[in-house]
Symmetry: C2
Subunit: 240 residues, 2 copies
Amino acid sequence: MASEVIVDKIAKEIAGDITWSDFPGKSMRKWREIFGVTQLVISKRMGISSSVLSDYEKGRRTPGSGFVKKFVRTLLEIDRERGYVIVKELARGQKLPPSALLDMREFPQKVLLKEVVEAVKGIVLYGSEKLDKQIYGYTVLDSIAAIESMTGQEFLSIMGLTTERVLVFTNVGTGRSPMVAVRVSFLKPGAVVVHGPKAVDPLAVKLAESDGIPFILSQVPDVQSLLNGLRGLLRKKENQ
Amino acid sequence: MASEVIVDKIAKEIAGDITWSDFPGKSMRKWREIFGVTQLVISKRMGISSSVLSDYEKGRRTPGSGFVKKFVRTLLEIDRERGYVIVKELARGQKLPPSALLDMREFPQKVLLKEVVEAVKGIVLYGSEKLDKQIYGYTVLDSIAAIESMTGQEFLSIMGLTTERVLVFTNVGTGRSPMVAVRVSFLKPGAVVVHGPKAVDPLAVKLAESDGIPFILSQVPDVQSLLNGLRGLLRKKENQ
DNA sequence: CTAGTATTTCGACTATTATCGAAACCTATT
DNA sequence: AATAGGTTTCGATAATAGTCGAAATACTAG
């Protein structure tokens, strides 16, 4: 299956292209054509009359952001049923998420670090005074795979739009190499969470300290719970 | 200066994030905070009352796509005056456009290949029967710089969202290496335009032929005219 | 040229956005 | 506790999106 991360990214790019365009309607048509869908088909899906789409495409009026969202969602839905043929095509130009990348999300609004700590059942090993820091997203990496397969380049590109996010490493031995990695690549995440180690290497804590990056040990039983915890927080913020 | 291409890309990403969000207002607030601007400041810039922004951020109503665009544009404008401090920060996560990248744009609507040919005063060396092909954007590369400095990775990443675009090479000797490059990296642009060569290598044409990619020789006097021609087409489409 | 699709056009109505301005409400800071 | 900057709330109004449906066109494959 096309990774959800990628589909999401493409969705945003399309939505952005439409919204940023001087002529949203033209861009909508462009995307509709790229996905090879007729006005009739998509309008039926969206539960509206096809003339509505025509009116937009011809610029009689401009769509609201809600409409754009629904439109893009529908395009992607249709494509999913066709086996994501177009998404796959579009994804080719994108950098693929390295297999080490388990999840990557943006929060719809700021989240406090302490909330993330809670979501991952974390113990704060350094930075307890910074728990009110704002966080805008998270990235979850499999540290073994990351170290083996990722180049420095990829490592950088993995951070989403903002660096005000939490970097979560799973599959961690002692926590040392993740912190070293963070050190050498000069990216400064808002916080680092490690999952897995029985005992945390004191040097890791020291590194975090000297970089001023809060360092958290997650205590959930397994990776799936970790991902679920974060997703849960995301969903909560979406509906809050 | 931060390259226009990058700023544009970031603009789209932000617009996409807002539009795609379940709570556009929350996302707007997030971005406003990331850019470190108060409601008062930005609303004054936009020529509206600050309560309008508050209403959005609190979800009293959801913004139209026009509003989102204006909002993002204003954020970026403010940041530009501050020396693009935030954009630079955001761009760090992005892949930088290699210096070989002279321009890269998306058309707001489909454009026929023949129109592009006209815009670059091109002679069709192969593919005259495909002039009605649809094109959605263009990428202009300095071929010398490209060959010297770009890795295969970068080469791939240079194509925008769709590959239904024209790849334009400037500074071309015989047209051979650009086509070889296109050959080896498995990207298939909608057409290739070369600018510069006195005489075109027959092998280049042959390669284009066997890949089925229209191959065009531009006859404008210099690179600037080439870029202008393409920009002109873009603008025309925007206002058409 | 003819069916049959797909798209465009347009008048009409309702629901929402776009916008203001004034007053109330928060924090910090003096 | 008084000042001040920032934010929220809310009633009000004009403008516009959101939507339909039917008729007019355009396009395409026989």
